[in-house]
């Protein structure tokens, strides 16, 4: 097991009370495998990524039952040891390519710094590695690019640079937080294809955070659906797409545009908004927006197994859930 997370929570003290941004989530990623965490804005998916890297904002408090990377418990590591791990064994790609590179250093300086931070290599070797990776992520004239500054590159190119930079030390795990959200659709598709082929070449695990089910269907081996700080459904991608069991997952899928949809027909949306996560929370977090809510939903719901690692957090039995899914997906107006 490359990454094993058990009962990870992130709490943020605020003036109104403690914000329970992430509430005891568990998941794992194997070598060469892709796990997609999917959910809407504010569900805690980005904080989950930052929590793994130990890069949370200073006020945020991280607790976890287990946070193991390649068998090493991350919570037991010193700040220096964690720093050594970051960039070398686990690297991260961010959502904002326009602001994620340092404006006053060249691409080459920033890339070689990563390698030279973690390995004893000469500047020339580091440069060669940078040129190789830039070429590999599809950037032409790599040698010229090394001498350029971020503002001379387009958003798509900058994100490619970020990916190449993350690969400098050949990490075992890449955490990508909405890596294509800020980019054109055509660039998105290219970058996703690139990530897949890189994963094949380097055999790394990929934790991909997204709100886009289209990306999930193309990239994921496993999926974890997050809602309001909890995982509400998780399992292999095929199982989730064929048998979405949680009403929220079903709702997300019903919101996907389909080719049969007529022009100007409204896209479906889940009514209501995400509950505030401040203070004492109880019951199913989705019940306020759920069409099948019952009085029992006010009590806490545990993840219940369905089949083949597929689990969901809902009181409805699977057969009723699936019948609902058929209705939800077909009555797509």
């Amino acid at each position: 097991m490359l990454l094993d997370v058990q009962q990870l929570s992130v709490d943020i003290p605020t003036a109104q009370g403690v914000l329970h941004a992430v509430q005891g989530i568990s998941f794992s990623v194997d070598n060469g495998e892709t796990l997609c965490i999917v959910g809407e804005s504010g569900c805690g998916k980005s904080l989950t990524a930052l929590a793994l890297m130990n890069l949370l904002p200073r006020r945020a408090i991280r607790t976890a039952g287990r946070l193991a990377f390649s068998g090493t418990e991350l919570q037991a590591l010193s700040a220096a040891a964690m720093n050594k791990l970051r960039g070398e064994n686990m690297a991260m790609i961010f959502q904002e390519p326009m602001t994620s590179l340092n404006p006053v250093f060249t691409i080459g300086d920033q890339m070689t710094d990563v390698l030279r931070q973690h390995r004893r290599v000469s500047q020339r070797e580091a440069r060669e590695r940078a040129i190789y990776l830039l070429t590999r992520v599809g950037i032409g004239k790599a040698e010229t690019r090394l001498g350029q500054y971020p503002h001379q590159l387009s958003g798509g190119l900058r994100q490619r640079v970020m990916i190449a930079m993350a690969l400098m030390c050949d990490p075992k795990l890449i955490i990508a937080d909405e890596p294509t959200t800020a980019l054109d659709v055509t660039v998105q598709a290219e970058l996703l294809r690139l990530l897949l082929s890189l994963q094949e070449e380097f055999g790394m695990g990929l934790l991909l955070i997204t709100h886009d089910l289209g990306i999930v269907s193309r990239m994921a081996d496993n999926v974890a659906v997050m809602y309001a700080g909890q995982i509400v459904e998780s399992g292999p991608v095929i199982s989730i797409f064929e048998n979405p069991l949680h009403p929220y997952t079903q709702g997300l899928m019903a919101c996907l545009p389909t080719p049969e949809r007529k022009r100007m027909q409204h896209l479906r949306a889940i009514p209501g908004t995400v509950p505030a996560l401040v203070g004492q929370l109880s019951g199913c977090r989705f019940r306020g927006r759920c069409p099948y809510a019952q009085p029992i939903c006010a009590e806490d719901v545990a993840l219940r197994p369905y089949a083949h690692d597929h689990a969901y957090r809902c009181v409805l039995p699977p057969d009723i859930s699936l019948a609902n899914a058929a209705v939800t997906l077909e009555t797509n107006p």
Binding site: L55, A79, N83, R86, N102, P103, V114, M162
Partner: protein, 310 residues
């Protein structure tokens, strides 16, 4: 980069000409200079003679041209008070002030940078608050009073430093501390705010995610970005220290240009004032020019944006 420097030196040169014209016009600021020179007892015939002698009867552009042509060759005319060429008084005094300004500036930077960086790194801790107190005190305390306190401490209680004069390096220690301490707070606070802004950016998060050592994140990745606004302010502070060192020079009886300027104004020694204004202004122009170049070196966006407009 070379192109950038050339362009900036062009605009600096134009600025110098404008500034020197303003300095030249000073002589007419207090009314007809010939009447003034003739004195209260002077007749209008005296004034006319003086007018012809000094060339005040010629058109102003011609006078300016003569003055500037002489100034470029180091001839600033004759002092009305000392009865010797302005240039010979000026260069001694200017050297002393430049030296004092430079040592004060170094002291200011040595104080401001580490404190500003530490205050940002440990924001809202006792370190930050201590730095704030040091800054507020430096800004609020009158220079002459702080100077006297230092004299009491280091010349009277512990007689290790001389009280006045400018003969040895020991003479410069207290004046530099006084002048530097006054200039440091602005630089320190700006370094702090610049660092805080930089440390919250996405690119610093990237550097951390890549495992760059915290020391490098702070002193390389964040500092270079934070310094860009600091450079311009520092240049202005240095200019201020050079031109505004009157109080410190008076307290420590240093024969510098600041004191000379002050005394020359009292004596209505216009050629000397003119020459000093010109020198101080040119120092400002040069410092701004150097700050621009330093900024362009720090920030590639600046130098490339400039090149693109060609």
């Amino acid at each position: 980069m070379l192109r950038f420097i050339l362009r900036r030196s062009g605009s600096a040169l134009i600025l110098m000409v404008v500034v020197s014209f303003v300095a030249f016009m000073l002589i007419f600021a207090a009314g007809d200079p010939a009447v003034k020179l003739a004195g209260e007892a002077g007749s209008s015939a005296d004034a006319a003679r003086i007018r012809a002698l000094y060339g005040f009867d010629k058109p102003i552009p011609v006078q300016f041209f003569h003055w500037i042509a002489a100034a470029v060759r180091g001839n600033f005319g004759h002092s009305l008070y000392f009865d010797q060429p302005v240039a010979s008084i000026l260069f001694d005094r200017l050297g002393v002030t430049l030296l004092l300004g430079l040592t004060s500036f170094i002291f200011a930077l040595v104080l401001a940078f580490p404190l500003g960086i530490a205050a940002a790194r440990w924001q809202n801790t006792w370190i930050d608050r201590t730095a704030l107190v040091i800054a507020v005190v430096g800004q609020a305390m009158p220079t002459f009073w702080f100077a006297l306190l230092l004299v009491i401490l280091f010349s009277v209680t512990f007689p290790i430093l001389p009280t006045s004069g400018s003969e040895t390096w020991q003479h410069f220690v207290m004046p530099s501390i006084v002048l530097g301490y006054f200039a440091a707070p602005a630089i320190m606070r700006l370094t702090r705010s610049g660092m805080i802004t930089a440390l919250e950016t996405d690119y610093i998060r990237t550097a951390r995610a890549m495992g760059i050592a915290p020391r490098n994140v702070l002193l390389k990745y964040a500092l270079r970005n934070a310094l860009i606004p600091v450079v311009s302010v520092s240049a202005a502070q240095l200019g201020y220290m050079l031109a505004g060192s009157v109080v410190v020079e008076s307290v420590f009886a240093i024969n510098g240009a600041g004191r000379l300027a002050w005394e020359s104004i009292l004596r209505s020694d216009l050629p000397t004032v003119q020459a000093l204004v010109l020198c101080f202004s040119l120092v400002y122009v040069i410092l701004t020019f150097l700050a621009d170049i330093l900024n362009a070196w720090l920030d590639p966006r600046m130098r490339l944006a400039d090149a693109r407009t060609d």
